[in-house]
């Protein structure tokens, strides 16, 4: 059907830590109004315990995806890992650790960084790679994130989401016709790279002791965005620009796959606040019940892991049926968007 005929998702896996925290239980600590709670709509998040880190969760999700696909770890050719928040160590080969721990002895491994958008760009590469190289049959895409102090306050960092911990994985394989990838679009609006950045710790401003005291080496999207979005007019301008990029991404995808909005049956999105998901579903003329919102509201935003987490949950709970055209959509700081179409 599309240019990636016979390439699709052969298996998926998701992992959520056992510990749970409800938004209702913390609202008085963080002064959440009822209006805000309704607007965000995320009722709870899962929280990693003291012994769990992103690669631990990623390994679990990967093993589940491999089992779901009915393949062996040694069948995997490439592993693409991503996270949106922070690594476990400043510089290390976490993707190599995952390869080693799951026993994917024949796989190369790497990490893609496109913030919370990384799973769909990884999908874009995976389908291109399988199409271009007859020796490549199975690619593992895996993401994991955890959000903890002193690096981030999961409740107050952003006013568009609440951060949850978790991991997800998908195996993209040759010879799949029931969950076939039709096409992928990714767009970058680099002019917004100054928003939502962590201001210290890279080559622009190396980390110094005073930065620790000033609480600058952390994710705080609200605080740092407000340095640039100084008034309502500027906030409105940037908001419109982001919405336009989102719309263009969908339009480009539909044009590429030669479909109309009315052909889309389900949307799987990243897990931002309800008010954003409602806008996205309205844009594509899909009911909220036909989106991944049910899972987003129970798990919060897990960085790039949202997409295949929601995909796995919807598939396993029979929310997607044969014949459905499913659209994936995510966005990330910097600013990037991506969308993909899957034919069930």
């Amino acid at each position: 059907m599309g240019k990636y005929s016979g390439i699709g998702i052969s298996g998926s896996g998701s992992y959520a830590p056992k510990n749970v925290m409800y938004t209702d239980h913390v609202k008085s600590i963080f002064n959440f109004t009822e209006a805000y709670i309704q607007k965000i709509g995320i009722s709870k998040v899962h929280i990693a315990d003291e012994t769990e880190y992103p690669t631990d969760m990623a390994i679990q999700a990967s093993k589940d995806a491999i089992k779901d696909a009915g393949i062996l770890p040694e069948d995997i050719n490439i592993i693409i890992y991503s996270y949106g928040g922070f690594p476990e160590y400043f510089m290390w080969a976490e993707y190599a650790k995952i390869q080693y721990e799951i026993g994917a002895i024949n796989a190369s491994a790497m990490r893609f960084d496109q913030a919370c958008n990384a799973q769909i760009i990884a999908l874009d590469y995976a389908v291109s790679k399988i199409k271009a190289d007859e020796n490549i049959n199975h690619i593992l895409i895996v993401s994991a994130d955890m959000f903890k102090e002193p690096i981030v306050n999961r409740w107050k960092t952003a006013d568009a989401c609440i951060w949850g911990d978790g991991a997800s994985a998908a195996i993209i394989s040759r010879g799949v016709t029931d969950h076939e990838i039709i096409d992928v679009v990714n767009m970058t609006d680099g002019a917004l790279n100054h928003l939502w950045r962590i201001p210290v710790g890279g080559t622009v401003t190396p980390l110094e002791p005073e930065h620790i005291e000033q609480n600058l080496f952390r994710i705080d999207m609200n605080r740092f965005a407000l340095e640039y979005l100084k008034d309502d007019a500027e906030r409105e301008r940037v908001s419109k620009r982001i919405v336009n990029t989102n719309i263009k991404t969908f339009e480009k995808l539909l044009e590429k796959i030669k479909k109309e909005k009315s052909d889309v049956n389900k949307i799987i999105t990243y897990n931002v606040g309800k008010f954003i998901i409602e806008n996205i579903s309205k844009m594509l003329c899909v009911n909220l019940a036909d989106t991944s919102w049910e899972y987003g509201s129970q798990h919060g935003h897990m960085g790039p892991a949202d997409i295949f987490f929601n995909y796995d949950q919807m598939k396993k709970n029979n929310k997607i049926k044969s014949g459905d055209l499913v659209v994936l959509f995510s966005a990330g700081t910097g600013f990037s968007t991506a969308s993909a179409a899957i034919q069930f």
């Binding site: 160590y89 400043f90 190369s108 790497m110 990490r111 389908v127 291109s128 790679k129 190289d133």
Partner: protein
């Protein structure tokens, strides 16, 4: 995984243009020997570095990558809006978040390009990123992919009082535009591999979730800078470099003795000499830049190849092998038949 790209995919893929950026400031071994117990002679003989370039305070990874990228686009005879995708292979970004490739996209005015950073331990990054970019072009997904490798290693990654690491490295960026060729031409084969059992061989511990930087460790140089198992890296590199050359040549149906140019990651001149000797190739079949620029991480094979092209050591029809290796422990190799810009559509 080793693949023969010429038989698969919709298009051939070649390097249409290249560009580099090296900071102006030079740090010689003599200057370095004033702050650590070493000598120019020791560094030259053991590692092969005579001097290296160091970014000044105003230079950032995105600046360097932008300049190298712009030069590659111009060398390719293209405009920024012709680029469909930017892949930046790096270790240390401008900011921890967002991806530095986005700033590069904005700086270049590459308004039609998607962008992402590929993080493959720094040194393996250049050929890995070329291999990744090649798939986007070969499949038909993209017409022109800009691959940039670079890092400012001198700033946050190494302890300038640690003789085990600081002697090796320099700063820089290299870029290549990958574009379509008729099927069967250009890149003939490539490999991407990792030995995940050695994921800890190169690590910077502090600054992440397991070891956040706080007032107690912010000045702890052992935790804040690169810890590298030099012996493990030597054993690894002198194994995978010659093996990779042989493997990509074999996959392409090329005899090792018919390779025209080997471009190795510039980690250590003795790794290169030992490896070339192992496979029976003389040093005139390789080009090196380690003596001038040190180990520039994910930029090194791109800078070295670009220079070899400018010096006319690489010409149309030449069989060129590139190999990069490093943290992970990961390695990547590629054999391509060199084309001129006029060969591209």
């Amino acid at each position: 995984m080793i693949t023969n790209i010429a038989e698969n995919g919709s298009f051939g893929v070649g390097i249409r243009g290249m560009g580099t950026f090296l900071p102006e400031r030079i740090l010689t071994n003599h200057e370095l020997s004033k702050q650590i117990p070493t000598t120019d002679e020791w560094i030259r003989s053991k590692i092969g570095v005579g001097e290296r370039r160091i970014a000044d305070e105003s230079e950032t990874l995105s600046n360097m990558a932008t300049i190298a990228g712009r030069r590659a686009i111009e060398n390719a005879g293209l405009k920024p809006e012709d680029i469909d995708l930017i892949i930046l292979a790096r270790v240390d970004p401008d900011h921890i978040d967002p991806s530095t490739s986005f700033k590069v996209q904005d700086n270049l005015g590459a308004i039609n390009a998607g962008a992402f950073d590929a993080v493959i331990g720094g040194c393996p990054g250049s050929v890995y990123a070329l291999s990744i970019g090649a798939s986007f072009v070969a499949s038909g997904s993209c017409k022109n992919v800009l691959v940039i490798g670079g890092d400012i290693i001198s700033r946050n990654l190494i302890n300038w009082n640690d003789r085990e690491t600081c002697c090796f490295f320099g700063d820089g960026a290299g870029a290549a535009v990958l574009s379509r060729l008729p099927k069967g031409q250009g890149i003939q084969s490539y490999l991407m591999k990792v030995d995940g059992s050695r994921y800890n061989a190169c690590i910077i511990p502090a600054g992440g979730l397991k070891m956040p930087v706080d007032s107690g460790n912010v000045d702890d140089v052992k935790k804040r800078y690169l810890n590298m198992d030099n012996k493990a890296v030597w054993n690894f590199a002198t194994t995978v470099l010659p093996e990779s050359i042989v493997q990509v040549a074999e996959k392409s149906g090329v005899k090792v003795e018919d390779i025209d140019m080997v471009i190795s990651h510039q980690a250590n001149i003795n790794i290169i000499k030992t490896s070339m000797e192992k496979i029976g190739l003389t040093m005139d079949k390789t080009h090196t830049t380690i003596e001038k620029y040190g180990n520039t991480g994910g930029a090194s094979t791109l800078i070295t190849l670009a220079e070899a092209v400018v010096e006319k050591k690489v010409n149309k029809g030449d069989k060129v092998v590139m190999v990069s290796f490093g943290a992970g422990l990961a390695w990547s190799g590629m054999l391509l038949e060199w084309h001129e810009q006029s060969d591209f559509n």
